[in-house]
C-alpha cells in the first residue's frame, strides 16, 4: 500500500481523473473530498459492504418467497382494504406520496462533483 503524508487542502491524484483532497482534520476525524468521473462510484466502505452482503442474502429470497407469499398476500390485502373507501382524507398524512428526491437537484451538470465531495464529508 502506498502511504503518503498530506496536509489540509493538499491533494492526491489517482490516474488522470480522480483527485482526493484533505478538507479538514479534527482529532481522529479526517474530512476527505473526492473528485471523480460520474461513472466512478464512491462509497464509504462499510456501507458498500453492507449492501453487498444484503444483495447476496436477497439473491436467496427466490427460494423462500413462496413460503412467505401467503402471509404477505393476506397482510397486503388488509393494508389496502381502505382503498375502496370514499374518504381518502381518513388516511394518515404521512401516507401521502409524491416522488421527489429529498435534495433539490440542479437540472444541468453544475455541482455534480460537489455532491460526491459533500456526501463523504457529511458524517
Amino acid at each position: 500500500m502506498l502511504v503518503l503524508t498530506r496536509r489540509v487542502n493538499e491533494r492526491i491524484i489517482i490516474g488522470e481523473d480522480i483527485e482526493i483532497v484533505v478538507v479538514d482534520i479534527r482529532g481522529e476525524q479526517v474530512k476527505i473530498g473526492i473528485e471523480a468521473p460520474k461513472d466512478t462510484r464512491v462509497y464509504r466502505k462499510e456501507v458498500f459492504e453492507e449492501i453487498q452482503a444484503e444483495n447476496r442474502r436477497a439473491s436467496e429470497a427466490k427460494e423462500s418467497i413462496d413460503k412467505a407469499a401467503e402471509q404477505m398476500a393476506r397482510l397486503f390485502k388488509e393494508a389496502k382494504a381502505g382503498e375502496g373507501e370514499e374518504n381518502a382524507s381518513d388516511l394518515p398524512e404521512k401516507r401521502e406520496t409524491t416522488i421527489e428526491p429529498r435534495n433539490a437537484v440542479e437540472p444541468d451538470g453544475a455541482g455534480e462533483r460537489e455532491s460526491t465531495k459533500k456526501h463523504l464529508e457529511e458524517r
Binding site: 444484503e54 373507501e85 455532491s115
Partner: protein
C-alpha cells in the same frame, strides 16, 4: 393520492409491454423458475455496473410474480439461476424519498426521480417469517433508456433490512381504525 392506487401507477409489476406492438423485438429469457419466457426487448433493463456483489450480471428482465402481491421477479439474462425478488419501495413506505446523488442521476440520464422507477431488493429470513426490503440501496431505473443502477441513498435513516410485514400491519391497523371511527361518527 391514495396509497395503493398510487403504487399501482408507479409500479410495473404487471408485465409491461404486453400490449406493446410498436417494438417487435423479443428476447428469450431463461429462468429457473419460469422456464423460457419471451420478453419485449424494450423491457430489458441493463445495469452497466451490475448489482453490487454480482458485477457479471448486467441485463435483467422484470417479470410478474403474483397478481395479489406487489412483488416482481428480477431475472438475470446472463444467469438463469440468478434472480431477485423486488418490490416498489412505495409499497413499503409510501413516503419513501431516497437521496440519490447527482452523479447517480446523471449516470442514468435522469434529472430527478420523477421519471424513474424504483425497486428495493427483498430478503426473506427467519423461516420466511421476516421479510425485509433494502431501502438503503434501491435500484433506480430510467425506463426510457432501459438502464438502471443500484444506488446508495445518502444521509437518510433507511436500512438494508426494512421490515415489510411490520409496515403492512401498521397500515392495516390504521385502515381498520379509520373505518371504526367513521362508523361511530
Amino acid at each position: 393520492m391514495r396509497w395503493y392506487t398510487h403504487c399501482r401507477k408507479t409500479s410495473r409489476y404487471l408485465t409491461r409491454g404486453e400490449t406493446d406492438i410498436e417494438n417487435k423485438e423479443i428476447v428469450l429469457v431463461h429462468s429457473q423458475r419460469f422456464g423460457d419466457v419471451k420478453v419485449n426487448a424494450r423491457d430489458v433493463i441493463t445495469f452497466p455496473d451490475g448489482i453490487l456483489g454480482f458485477p457479471f450480471a448486467k441485463r435483467f428482465a422484470l417479470l410478474s410474480l403474483r397478481q395479489d402481491l406487489p412483488l416482481s421477479w428480477l431475472q438475470s439474462l446472463e444467469e438463469p439461476d440468478l434472480a431477485f425478488v423486488v418490490i416498489n419501495p412505495k409499497h413499503v413506505r409510501p413516503d419513501y424519498h431516497p437521496s440519490v446523488s447527482k452523479d447517480d442521476l446523471a449516470a442514468l440520464g435522469l434529472k430527478d426521480l420523477d421519471a424513474a422507477e424504483l425497486y428495493a431488493l427483498v430478503s426473506v429470513s427467519a423461516g420466511a417469517r421476516r421479510i425485509t426490503a433494502n431501502l438503503l440501496g434501491p435500484l433506480v431505473i430510467n425506463p426510457r433508456l432501459g438502464i438502471g443502477r443500484q444506488v446508495v441513498s445518502v444521509g437518510d435513516d433507511y436500512t438494508v433490512k426494512h421490515d415489510i410485514l411490520e409496515e403492512w400491519r401498521l397500515y392495516a391497523k390504521e385502515t381498520l381504525n379509520s373505518k371504526v371511527k367513521k362508523k361511530g361518527a
